[in-house]
């Protein structure tokens, strides 16, 4: 068996909803079935074969080649298997996924890992706004799993995030950790303004003080040695990420907030 490869044929004008193209939904289908499946594109539906050259047959190992930022909903609600994307991806990469792996060489658009429950997404590029966030109007963002971004993320990373981990090797944009309910966001680079805005609980872990500092809605709780950090760093070791090589630390300055709300969140900055 070789990976099921979907090579995008042309530059897209319209966005394409790729949610049917997951290992779960393709199980039991042969190439002809897949070729005939209809995808929503703009106000039309188009058969998969009109958009993609199809080769290979292992639906548990799906590859998107020549991928575009207009391919939305890749890996939608997948529970197992692997999706590899060569190129960029559109919005909602890995939305609702509960398991399996997604890896992408390029950048993603908004809502990467939106409300995901498990599994891992690795972005070897930049991610757009609302990584691991909840859809507009919804109350819970990602509730499990891991998102690794080697580049930068946009605004509102982890908005309404409830559990799980977002690891950013580059910089995070504004409102990182906004309205976060729980979980962990770690950023090796810098973070934008309004860090932890309206954060309820959860942890934002930083190896250095952000350029914009910590806002007044977080109170300094002093410097501490926290026992859980070595455990967390140990758990990073098996990841294919810069985080695996970060020298662990447990000595941090702890800031609690957002005190405009329940104020149970924390920003931990290495000292």
């Amino acid at each position: 068996m070789t990976a099921l490869t979907l090579k995008l044929k042309t530059d897209l004008a319209q966005r394409v909803d790729c949610s049917p193209l997951t290992p779960d939904k393709l199980t039991g289908k042969d190439v002809a079935d897949i070729a005939a499946m209809e995808l929503v594109s703009g106000r039309l539906t188009l058969p998969v074969e009109e958009l993609f050259d199809i080769s290979g047959d292992d639906v548990n190992d799906i590859r998107f080649e020549n991928s575009s930022a207009k391919l939305d909903h890749i890996g939608h609600a997948m529970s197992q298997g692997r999706i590899t994307i060569n190129g960029d991806a559109g919005a909602y990469l890995g939305q609702f996924m509960t398991g399996g792996n997604i890896e992408i060489t390029g950048n993603t658009f908004i809502y990467t890992g939106c409300e995901m429950k498990g599994g891992q997404i690795k972005i070897n590029g930049n991610a757009g706004d609302f990584v691991g966030a909840a859809r507009s109007g919804y109350k819970n963002g990602m509730t499990g799993g891991t998102i690794i971004v080697t580049g930068n993320t946009g605004a509102r990373t982890g908005d309404h995030m409830r559990r799980g981990m977002i690891l950013i090797e580059g910089n995070a944009g504004e409102y990182c950790g906004s309205r976060m309910i729980s979980g962990t966001i770690a950023v090796l680079g810098d973070v934008g303004k309004h860090l932890g805005y309206a954060m309820k609980r959860g942890t934002i872990l930083l190896p250095k003080m952000p350029q914009h500092g910590i806002t007044a809605n977080f109170n300094d709780c002093g410097s501490h040695t926290l026992a859980f950090l070595p455990l967390m760093f140990a758990s990073f070791k098996k990841l294919d990420s810069k985080f695996a090589k970060v020298e662990g630390f447990s000595r941090v300055q702890r800031y609690a907030g957002d005190v405009g709300g329940i104020g149970m969140g924390e920003i931990l900055v290495k000292i």
């Binding site: 859980f228 455990l231 758990s235």
Partner: protein
Amino acid sequence: MIINGVSIDKTFAEAFPMKGTRIIITAQNLEWAMHSATAFTGFATSVIACGCEASIERTLDPSETPDGRPGVACLIFAMGGKGLAKQVETRAGQCVLTSPTSALFSGIEGEDGKEIALGKNLRFFGDGYQISKMIDGKRYWRIPVMDGEFLTQENTGVVSSVGGGNFLILAESQPQALAACEAAVKAMKQLPNIIMPFPGGVVRSGSKVGSKYKALNASTNDAFCPTLKGQTKSECSPEVESVMEIVIDGLSKEDIDKAMRVGIQAACDLGAENGIRRISAGNYGGKLGPFHFHLQEIMA
């Protein structure tokens, strides 16, 4: 069967199923981990009155512990999962949560994923300030305490275990019996997955089932009490003046097998010249439990 002049009885030790778990206590240094572990496993010699049987299994090097600090592994056994959970929780609450610099982890995966609460309910001590962290699929609680933060894993695994493995050492004098026990315990302590829950690993008050007093369901094992040689149907030959027992709880039958072999061998190594006469075992005619450790088979 005779080893080094010590005769091995053709009998068996009778053991019964228990539920057990391993917990790991770490601290800033081994001394403080040991303080906590000693308290945690205190008053836990026998399920008859302690509710559980527990002891320190071994000390752990920083490289072996989840948080990279010195630690101590303890095994704790009870007759059922519920009883175990209750013991673990009260002991963790009173002896680990309270102990400076400590952290508490599970040291074992549950059989079929079965788990009991470890720090799950201790979190309420945090009065709302407790913080939960999922790391590698396991939940931990961070509970603010006066010396910093108490870190505890939420749950620990439960495994079916074996309790009550034992053997008796019959010797010509009390010092000789004790010396043989010490040698046996020292050798057995090198092994994983077992504990000897009695003080120093040795028990001198082996019991039989039943009593002349209606209120009691166990009483002294008069057959092995040397001072009663003339008063009861005694197991002690004229030259035997002292009998001591080593009780072993383990995570599996095989673990106990191994431990008994090592322990009996150590006692036998002292041999007849050091007054060790005979090795026997406690059983209840096979009525108590499904696990039978035949001494001669073990030593074969």
